[in-house]
Symmetry: C2
Subunit: 416 residues, 2 copies
Amino acid sequence: MTDAFQQILDDARAASVVLAQTPTTVKNQALLAIATALEDNSDRIVTANAHDLNLSRGDGMAEGLLDRLALSPARVTGLALAVRDIAALPDPIGDVLRGSTLPNGLQLTQVRVPFGVVGAIYEARPNVTVDLAAILLKSGNVAILRGGSAAENTNTVLVDVIGTALENCGLPRTAVQTIDPFGRDGANRLMNARGFVDVLVPRGSASLISAVVNDSSVPVIETGSGVVHIFLDASAELDMASDIVHNAKTQRVGVCNALETLLVHRDAAVRLIPAILERMVESGVTIHADEATREIFPRADVATADDWGHEYLSLDLAVKVVDSLEDAIEHIGLHSTHHTDAIITNDMANAEKFLAEVDSAVVMVNASTRFTDGGEFGFGAEVGISTQKLHARGPMGLSELTSTKWIVRGNGQWRE
Amino acid sequence: MTDAFQQILDDARAASVVLAQTPTTVKNQALLAIATALEDNSDRIVTANAHDLNLSRGDGMAEGLLDRLALSPARVTGLALAVRDIAALPDPIGDVLRGSTLPNGLQLTQVRVPFGVVGAIYEARPNVTVDLAAILLKSGNVAILRGGSAAENTNTVLVDVIGTALENCGLPRTAVQTIDPFGRDGANRLMNARGFVDVLVPRGSASLISAVVNDSSVPVIETGSGVVHIFLDASAELDMASDIVHNAKTQRVGVCNALETLLVHRDAAVRLIPAILERMVESGVTIHADEATREIFPRADVATADDWGHEYLSLDLAVKVVDSLEDAIEHIGLHSTHHTDAIITNDMANAEKFLAEVDSAVVMVNASTRFTDGGEFGFGAEVGISTQKLHARGPMGLSELTSTKWIVRGNGQWRE
């Protein structure tokens, strides 16, 4: 007997066989059809969303979360635009990555293929539903989506609208399914559907991601929290350092590539700290500093051990004076989440040493850490920043949502 | 307080920082020094191995396993040769995989870096200890090795010999460590050392690999068992089919790329089955066949449901007649472990359909499945055949034991 959840897994597998063979033109037509369907069904989507918003407001959801949950007609139009952008990106499927002809005449090619069935677990943000559905469709993958329960009505309508658009293009409606109606039990079953789900992508807060990583027997691509460091080397130029630090901390807080800890070389501390921290305070940043920093900039709060390696995601900044480049690298090794770390320097040997020895997904010299982003890197779409070393590291675009397959063509070869 | 096991993890991390920066020439010198040291310490290695063999014989270990455990002077020489071969391979570390200059002038490069600390869990085969140590050293990774307890004395001497050779080349002895003395508890701690061990590679039987996949919180590269299929299409040429099937089943049994199930198109069954199965029986193969096959070749045993998807690793072969290419693809989808599957055909459209729709790490047309092998593919060294879709799929060479890192070089850029 197959229960309703198992049926979803089986339907997803069947749809994945179709999607893996679907040509780019058909996938693009389907994406454009989805975009149009979202616009055409804007009223229905916004109405379902209003229902979710009412329920969540009744449950006392915080304003910031309500804002992330909310879809207005303008936001629906924005979602449709984003889907059209994904349709315009190159399709990675079928790319030949390597190939050779062996001495015995066998022809080898390694080609990009979809993962197959990709599960996603995320929070109550309906835009993520559309975003993931479009990115996974473009990369030939079938989606099983688990959004937050608070967005269940919105997600149900979105997946229905997407499914009808898929069917109108001759593709299976089951290429994009939601398991929101199964609640927490559904999330648990998804995490343990090894053999049915090829890869799981959690997207959201550090605690959500860590729960999925720990509980899942399906392989997970860990997208990560960012305890991002910038080290101001002894030779750092003041204006450049100030612009980059200010940008990395204040241009947008609450994102994983925002600065959390500033390290300053002792030889440059007196020269750099006053102007840089003064500008931060003017922008509303609270400074949590070690003693050496506070001697130079007494208005800073006293940092405690908890401030190092802390992902504030707010207008807070930890600041520490270090004795050397080596000490900076050591501090980063201990406290970074290995997302993005940067050095500001005019010393070429120090720049190269930092780039080589700091073991993070992205290492930078003389640039704002805010550039760690699929869009900024030119990938078009992004499904998060991977902080793991397996499979994908750094911003993940469409090609990071694929696997490969070896094709061997012979004419009767057998092994001696 | 740091216990002895945690000390191993900490030492490994410290060594990984050194190894990641070690130039290819130094790594190659170390590999050559290891090869020489193995030869120079042959007596000591063989004596320790004799001790292990005595203990295992006393414990009633089967002859086949004793043979895999045994090291003779000639086998030690073979190990040294294998290490020299690895020294001669190209070093993947530092390869630039992608790069671009962004419109704002930022220079992006994606470079290959080692994973860092790699754990390996395998059975009592001391040659694997040397093989993994050499492959991991070449790819800039630090090794924490857990071989079977039955090889503990041999592994301890091998790791000591390797460590001294590393030290003599100025590299940390802790770049290759064994945790055999910690027994099963050590294996469990290794599997749960997330954050300390970057990747875990199990190598050995299907049950060992499945236990590691299920119990490990460290990301695992699953190297796989092979339920390998060959499908003889209606147009398959008899001599080619017979040579390939015979080779795939009998050239070496007990390996993951050996044939386990033969599927034959109904339209070719009478033409192909008698001669092909006759030759198999002459080579000592036991045939487990469905009714349609037995009507043509009555000497075959009756296949039960358990024969489909069974990895015999012995001179046994399951044989089934199917009605069509689609039925063959469906059977493979249900029963393959997605390692290697092949079609023998002279029909171009059928070949392309099979290659596109069979979702296995390696798909072949008109060639023996025995070619799925890192050595045959020209990779030089191999750490197994990955049957998972994440990170690496198919034969894994040195570059599959690496991660990547994005390097961003700017001159003061910040984000608008």
